[in-house]
Amino acid sequence: MIELIAFLLKIGGVAFLGVATIGLIRLDDPFQRMHAATKAGTLGAGLVLIGTMIAKGNADAAMTGTFALLFLILTIPVASHLLARAAYISGAELSGIGNSDALQGRIDRLASPLEERLDTLAFQAPAEVKGVRPSAQLPGIGEPAAEVLDPEGAALKPADMPIRAERVRFAAFGAGAPAFAERVAKLAVRLELPLTAVIAIDTRLAESTCDTSGALRSYRNAIGAWLPEMRALADKLPVPFDLLYEEGDAEDLLCGTADSRELLVLPIDGWVDHGVTLRTPCSTWDPDGLLRLADRHPGPVLYAGAIKPEGAGAVLHDGSDDVRYALSFALENRLWLLDELRVVGQLDAVSRLEIEGMAAAADTPVRFIDRPVERKAHPVFEPGEMTDVTAVILPDLPGPRRTNWFGDFWQDRVARGWRGDVLVWT
């Protein structure tokens, strides 16, 4: 008889656990799932424990079982309260309650889920913390830029006026730097813009190796090998050409004054170690911050990989302001000589008209490819969309922010096997 009771308790417990699991899978938001998991889950585990104690029937089992049960009952309300509070604060989705959020105004809550924000916020942090200049906030999505005007009126609104680039800044890494400089110089000459080359040495990187002065020396030697070639190039250019050599925080140095009217041109691989491979004891990674620069620089960033500027261009249009700015920037400045512009994404009629207008002004035929755009999908483009494409415009770089991720080159995440120019505006 006792065995039967114990068995029924256990069956009941497992049934509750099953219901809790089904709830965890099928309910809509974290709070509903928590409701299923904690209530039914505790009851289920508790019933199974009681059943086990009864079936065992000795003092030893009863003792441990009771303690475990007591502890479950004591802690689970506290733990789930903590978790629910944290979930609420971090902006977890609340579905099905309409506007009747009783905690609204009582607890600060992120307006959108934390996960979505972590991607977009990385670039705002340095600019605001250091108070560089308000124009760093300029591409803030959907925010009126009127209040952030600084004294020089630098906070222009790209949505309203044509964006003209005023300077080109590029990073020189390693032995490929002179060839890359020539490629950027051609662009700068075509656009008639002054050019700045930044040769940076990351002192923090040098400090993280075992031998700081030795590391600095080898970086300087590596730079010295191709620096004369850069100087020679600087002398024969018809546009102003500044050569900056700096040591310090590489990301800061490469981004400069965080000016959105400055086009930052970067190679598609390499980093400020200038090809010198030195192991750092704290990390198993090769030093690599190239793709993070796009978040750091508040304006257009061009990863220049294509050999020639002619060909088709592809745009992944998710409707965000970032991609609108980048597209109007590219067309307004004739960044590439495109023979076709392919716009991938589901667009409303207004955006289509806007794009057609801009493309007509730049003498570029447009083709719209209507398909839903998945922000996190890899590769970003489907193979058929990429024939003859020399340049793409993306709302955001495909994550993770590493040029080589376990042997997978980052442009393969744009389209498999493809190499070319990538323009982003963040």
């Binding site: 699991t21 998991a37 585990a45 065992k56 475990a68 733990a79 978790l83 944290a86």
Partner: protein
């Protein structure tokens, strides 16, 4: 009566195994939620749920194998689960606070 108890035992012993299998399936399904998320909160809830399932599985194993030590394991798990949940909650709140201090003016709520 003696006979009845023997029959009952013959049925109940394998039934425990069936229950363990059921709990294991539930563990698998919960692991799916843990892997797919989508939010951090979902993952932490899934971990919480997994501990409850593991406690139940331990209790059932104690019966199936006849070894009382598994109940101690269940007790230990119940202890650790609380610490883990509290740590996760603290992590999530800190992260949210940091995001908020970086992206000021984008929160809804009392301070904005």
């Amino acid at each position: 009566m003696e006979n009845l108890i023997t029959t009952a035992n013959a049925i109940l012993d394998p039934a425990i195994t069936v229950l363990i299998v059921l709990v294991t399936i539930a563990l698998g399904v919960t692991a799916y939620r843990l892997l797919t998320g989508p939010s951090y909160a979902d993952r932490f809830i899934a971990i919480d749920m997994m501990t409850a399932l593991a406690v139940a599985a331990c209790a059932l194993t104690a019966l199936a194998t006849g070894r009382g030590e598994f109940l101690d394991v269940a007790f230990g798990l119940a202890l650790i689960a609380f610490v883990a949940a509290a740590a996760f909650a603290g992590f999530l709140e800190r992260k949210a606070a940091r995001v908020r201090s970086n992206g000021s003016g984008q929160t809804e709520g009392a301070s904005s």
